[in-house]
């Protein structure tokens, strides 16, 4: 069902708050990856707030939908959304992220953080894990869905395509991969460093149902998720065209730098005033 204006406005408001949390988190510890975190905010909010069958009070429920952040370095965005959902107190974001003895590790850890369904960090593994979860639902006779978020740089990893063929061959229609196509990887623009375009054609050729959306459009994301599972019985790939460092002008202008560089105090103030929160 399409979102009404009120829902869209609510999620847009929340997206500003989540971006603020991300920036404050990486600023507080002066470590972490803001760029790719800022590009997945709307994706996470639409999933966690509106689409996934989850209960923050019961994070281990057998029947819950699963989410795997395969691009694990963008944990700040996931942590901010999980805290916003009530999986753990929001104070943890600044007090714990990347700190010794902290529950919020540099990359997601399923054994330390409530709400994390799979430990990730090493790129390329998440979609295989998602396949395993989707097989699990089938074997256990459960109807939960599995969402895996990958980066476009991550698509360089051969294992992603190993998993892509497994999901298609076994017709894992309860599995959705979301590609955060922000156009940048560690060393630079994906088109320069390692061009994987055309993305939609690649996923289609591997036997997936493919949708391509503006990854910052709450309406488009919502309608894409509403089409899962595909009537074709195929797994679904949603390619989200996004902007790395979305929402902060000086970061958007230097995307390579802000892949893994936190803002300093002055930059943080500027960023927050731009976000209007």
């Amino acid at each position: 069902m399409p979102f009404d204006q009120e829902t869209v406005a609510e999620l847009q408001n929340r997206s500003r708050q989540i971006r603020r949390d991300i920036l404050e988190m990486v600023h507080a510890i002066q470590s972490g990856h803001p760029g790719g975190s800022l590009s997945i905010v709307e994706i996470l909010l639409v999933l966690y707030r509106k689409k996934m069958r989850i209960d923050p009070q019961d994070p281990h429920s057998q029947d819950r939908d699963r989410f795997v952040l395969s691009k694990g370095h963008c944990a700040p965005a996931l942590y901010a959304v999980l805290a916003d959902m009530g999986y753990f107190p929001k104070e943890a974001l600044k007090e714990s992220f990347r700190r010794i003895n902290g529950m919020l590790q540099g990359h997601p850890d399923m054994n330390k953080t409530p709400g994390i369904d799979m430990t990730t960090g090493s790129l390329g593994i998440g979609l295989s894990v998602g396949c395993g979860m989707a097989f699990g639902a089938r074997i256990l006779g459960k109807d939960f869905r599995v969402y895996v978020l990958t980066g476009d740089g991550e698509l360089n990893e051969g294992q992603v395509w190993e998993a892509a063929k497994t999901a298609a061959h076994h017709r894992l229609d309860n599995l959705t991969v979301i590609v955060d196509a922000n156009g940048y990887q560690n060393d630079g623009p994906t088109r320069v460093e390692m061009n994987m375009e055309p993305l939609a054609e690649k996923w289609r050729a591997f036997g997936w149902d493919v949708q391509e959306v503006d990854g910052h459009s709450i309406e488009q994301l919502s309608s894409a998720f509403d089409q899962v599972p595909a009537p074709s019985g195929r797994p679904t790939a949603i390619i989200c065209r996004t902007v790395k460092c979305k929402g902060v002008s000086f970061m958007e202008e230097d995307k390579v730098k802000y892949h893994g560089t936190p803002p300093d105090g002055e930059q943080l103030s500027q960023a927050l005033s731009e976000l209007g929160c």
């Binding site: 395993g132 097989f135 699990g136 074997i139 294992q159």
Partner: protein, 317 residues
């Protein structure tokens, strides 16, 4: 000596265990036929997943299955079960401590004619270096069965190392397999031979040869390489003062390394290794390879004498 086959035993035991564990699921990278689980595939098609020739994916899929509460068993050759997808095992299985069982046949140069690319001779070293990982090795077909059951009883990741075929019989009947506990097959007072896998049978033959020369050997099957039975090692080291380790594995970081770590800390005595020197294997029959690479009862006898000589030399000084 009677022989059995590791892989036939694995296939048969998984069939039995499928009945006992409803949550057992087998995942393989296109090696069902080769690890003899074809029957499992026929009888339990809903609990059998082939991911094709993709080992990294295989481990990831197993990890995902484990997160849902199922017990995935990865069945493949050691080279493709653990050496190729090592990083996936490290980050997606060992670190999150997921209940994945990796049952690997074709470990060591016992693989034979396929040659060096298929002979995993470093697998004990790399797998036991992983926190959370349990590492087991079965000595024969009968022990393959009990090891499979012990691995399934344990909650957490397990690597079970098996040979291929031609397993000389060490156990004529089943004996309980306890994680962290060695099996003392023979007690002697002059030297201790600690072996695993196919080398256990060689160690038993060596004990007979040594006995003929008036040397009384303790023979230990160290089937639980991690956790290792420190108590048994220390006790044997104190009692005999001379240790030999024997394994179908490189001499770097395997069973010999594991035993050396214990005795160096707790009870330093001479230790001699029967293992593959720091080099790769080649094609040949299992018997030819064991002969050429020194994995024989005769090598164990020589190593035992060296260890005893070193012990006696240090006692004189």
């Amino acid at each position: 000596m009677e022989t059995g086959s590791f892989r036939e035993a694995l296939g048969q035991e998984l069939l039995l265990m499928a009945r006992e564990y409803e949550s057992l699921v087998v995942v393989t990278p296109d090696l069902a036929k080769s690890v003899r689980i074809g029957r499992f595939k026929e009888m339990y098609p809903n609990r059998f997943i082939s991911v094709g020739v993709s080992e990294a994916d295989c481990i990831g899929v197993a990890a995902g299955l484990a997160t849902t509460g199922l017990i995935p068993v990865v069945a493949a050759f050691a080279m493709f079960a653990v050496e190729k997808p090592f990083e996936q095992i490290r980050n997606a299985v060992a670190y999150p401590c997921l209940n994945v069982k990796i049952f690997a046949t074709h470990a060591g140069i016992c693989v034979g004619r396929d040659g060096a690319t298929h002979q995993a001779i470093e697998d004990i070293a790399i797998m036991r270096a992983l926190p959370n990982m349990t590492v087991l090795a079965a000595a024969d077909a009968t022990e393959t069965r009990t090891a499979v059951r012990a691995a399934l009883r344990h909650v957490g990741p397990v690597y079970l190392r098996l040979g291929r075929d031609h397993a000389e019989t060490v156990y004529d009947r089943e004996q309980e397999f306890i994680l962290g506990r060695a099996d003392i097959l023979r007690s002697g007072s002059d030297v201790t031979v600690i072996a695993c896998g196919l080398m256990v049978a060689e160690a038993l033959k060596a004990a007979v040869l040594l006995d003929q020369q008036g040397i009384d050997a303790t023979i230990v099957n160290m089937h639980s390489i991690k956790p290792i039975d420190e108590e048994a090692i220390i006790e044997a080291a104190s009692a005999t003062g001379a240790i030999v380790t024997a394994e179908d594995h490189t001499r770097i970081g395997g069973l010999g390394g594991a035993v050396a770590e214990v005795i160096a800390r707790a009870c330093p005595v001479p230790l001699e290794q029967v293992a593959i020197d720091d080099r790769f294997g080649e094609s040949g029959s299992q018997a030819e390879l064991y002969e050429k690479y020194g994995l024989t009862a005769e090598s164990i006898v020589k190593a035992a004498k060296r260890a005893i000589a070193r012990r006696d030399c240090s006692r004189r000084h």
